[in-house]
């Protein structure tokens, strides 16, 4: 977090609860000093995460915003146990992410949904339902339900190889809904969705939030208007660090001003 943020930007407590609410409630996700460096083939090093510190309480809806390459997808990969940080400590429900995922699973919507080309949409979802622990009649019931929710009923028999980006995104959303999860990681969830399905996604998101007060929804997005509408807290990330962290008030213009101001401050440093 940049020093003296309050003197430059609107106060974090502006019009709402103080930020301390996030650290006084039961902590669900905690990252301290988390760093991750990628090494390219030409030996160039890229610091995707550079000593990131963050605490997220159970039941929060948090948006991560920042420029391309800021480290948002790497952060989600770390939380999903798909990427191991080089340094630092990450705890999800008090345990390492891999242990948490292997015991309870997390809902993950990657920034680019990739599916097995030769399988149909239904078969893909059936396999994921099996891995989620569904068995017997529960498998077709769950799959039919999420196909219906994602509007994919008439595409269930299509092979994934022929699906457009938007349809793949909807398959990605469908697989999130197969089983209830306490932690959902949505990386650019609106990417590729048409206006109708953006609206539908907002409804689903609100539904997920209402279903369980303990459910934590983390999303990354470049769309600040949607972010202001969907989440209660915004974390601005740049160059693998948290540079601002504040509650949203549903005002997309104020949010945009603050995010841009924070990014400008980071660039000027």
């Amino acid at each position: 977090m940049r020093p003296g943020a309050e003197s430059v930007l609107p106060k974090p407590t502006d019009g709402g609860q103080p930020l301390d609410q996030y650290v006084t409630r039961k902590r669900l996700i905690e990252l301290s000093g988390v760093s991750k460096t990628y090494r390219r083939r030409n030996r160039q090093r890229i610091n995707a995460l550079a000593g990131l510190d963050l605490r997220i309480a159970a039941g929060s809806t948090v948006a991560f915003v920042g420029p391309n390459g800021a480290g948002k997808s790497t952060l989600f990969g770390v939380l999903a146990g798909l990427i191991r940080p080089d340094r630092g400590r990450t705890l999800v429900h008090g345990v390492a992410p891999v242990a948490y995922v292997c015991s309870r699973g997390v809902g993950m919507l990657p920034d680019r949904v990739r599916l097995p080309d030769r399988l149909t949409v239904r078969e893909t979802l059936v396999r994921l339902a099996i891995l989620d622990g569904c068995s017997g009649d529960a498998i077709p019931r769950s799959v039919d339900r999420v196909l219906d929710l994602a509007g994919l009923g008439d595409r269930a028999g299509d092979r994934c190889v022929g699906l457009s980006h938007g349809l793949r995104q909807r398959v990605g959303i469908a697989q999130l809904l197969l089983r209830p999860r306490e932690v959902l990681l949505l990386d650019e969830p609106l990417s590729g969705l048409d206006p109708v399905w953006r609206a539908r996604f907002r409804e689903l998101f609100e539904q997920l939030r209402r279903e369980s007060s303990g459910r934590t929804l983390l999303l990354s997005s470049h769309e600040l208007g949607e972010t202001a509408r969907l989440t209660e807290r915004v974390v601005v990330i740049d160059a693998g660090r948290v540079i601002d962290d504040f509650p949203t008030r549903g005002d997309s213009e104020a949010l945009e001003r603050r995010v841009l101001s924070a990014l400008q401050w980071a660039r000027d440093r």
Partner: protein
């Protein structure tokens, strides 16, 4: 673990097309060589009382060894290639267990290939008036098991450590010495160098084990033990690797 077990029939179905292709490949390559099947090999290995059995077993073993990398290569890198890792690996499953199930499905299919090839070779051999090459059903399964344990474990490890193209290259690196070991006369220096891969010894051990020849079991146990150790390392590495999609 139960969810992975429930997925297993589908994993078998995934491997079936490759297995069928592998069977065709084995038959295609074996059929002309079988005419010389009774000549044996220069190192004198020959199953007692069954002329031609050793060479047939070696031929089938060789060709299984060639097809094993093909089947094993996709255990880890197949998940990366499909790009479905973030969806699969965020489920509440054991990651080593998931990769092991994929590996095991490959073995079951390879054993199936071995049985089919063996049955067809036997039929053809007998139809031509021969006494049969002597590679029994149990021998076929044994051959499939030992080949898969050794080659499949190495390829899984390579596939876990390396990326797609490199895994294929690694698989070929395994397959070529195996082919040399099994096919060239042992007086050849290349074959002698390649003998560090104990495929023929393992085949012999498997056959002797099935025949109740206890002393040879140690070879199988030693090589099998090494194979299992390599498999364990491969599963460990695969489950700890950072997720990275391969385009």
């Amino acid at each position: 673990m139960s969810s992975i077990a429930a997925l297993f029939p589908r994993l078998l179905r995934d491997k079936l097309p490759r297995s069928i292709a592998a069977t065709g490949l084995v038959l295609l390559l074996t059929s002309p060589l079988l005419r010389f099947g009774e000549s044996g090999f220069a190192d004198g290995y020959m199953a007692q009382g069954v002329p031609g059995a050793a060479s047939t077993a070696n031929l089938v073993g060789l060709l299984l060894a060639l097809t094993a990398p093909w089947l094993a290569e996709g255990v880890v890198s197949g998940v990366r290639r499909s790009g479905s890792g973030p969806l699969l690996l965020t489920r509440p499953i054991s990651r080593p267990g998931f990769y092991f199930a994929r590996w095991l499905a490959g073995f079951v299919c390879l054993a199936g290939v071995a049985i089919v090839v063996s049955a067809i070779i036997n039929l053809v051999w007998r139809a031509n008036g021969g006494a049969g090459p002597g590679l029994s059903l149990a021998g076929s399964i044994g051959a499939g098991l030992v080949i898969w344990l050794w080659v499949g474990s190495i390829v899984l490890l390579l596939s876990a450590v390396l990326e797609r193209g490199e895994a294929l290259a690694g698989a070929l690196l395994v397959a070529i010495p195996v082919a040399l070991t099994a096919s060239l006369p042992t007086t050849d220096p290349l074959a002698a160098a390649a003998r560090i891969l104990p495929v023929r010894q393992m085949l012999g051990a498997a056959r002797a084990l099935l025949a109740g020849d206890v002393p040879v079991q140690s070879t199988l146990v030693t090589t099998g033990g090494w194979s299992l150790a390599i498999l364990g390392v491969g599963l460990f590495v695969a489950s700890r690797r950072d997720w990275q999609a391969v385009d």
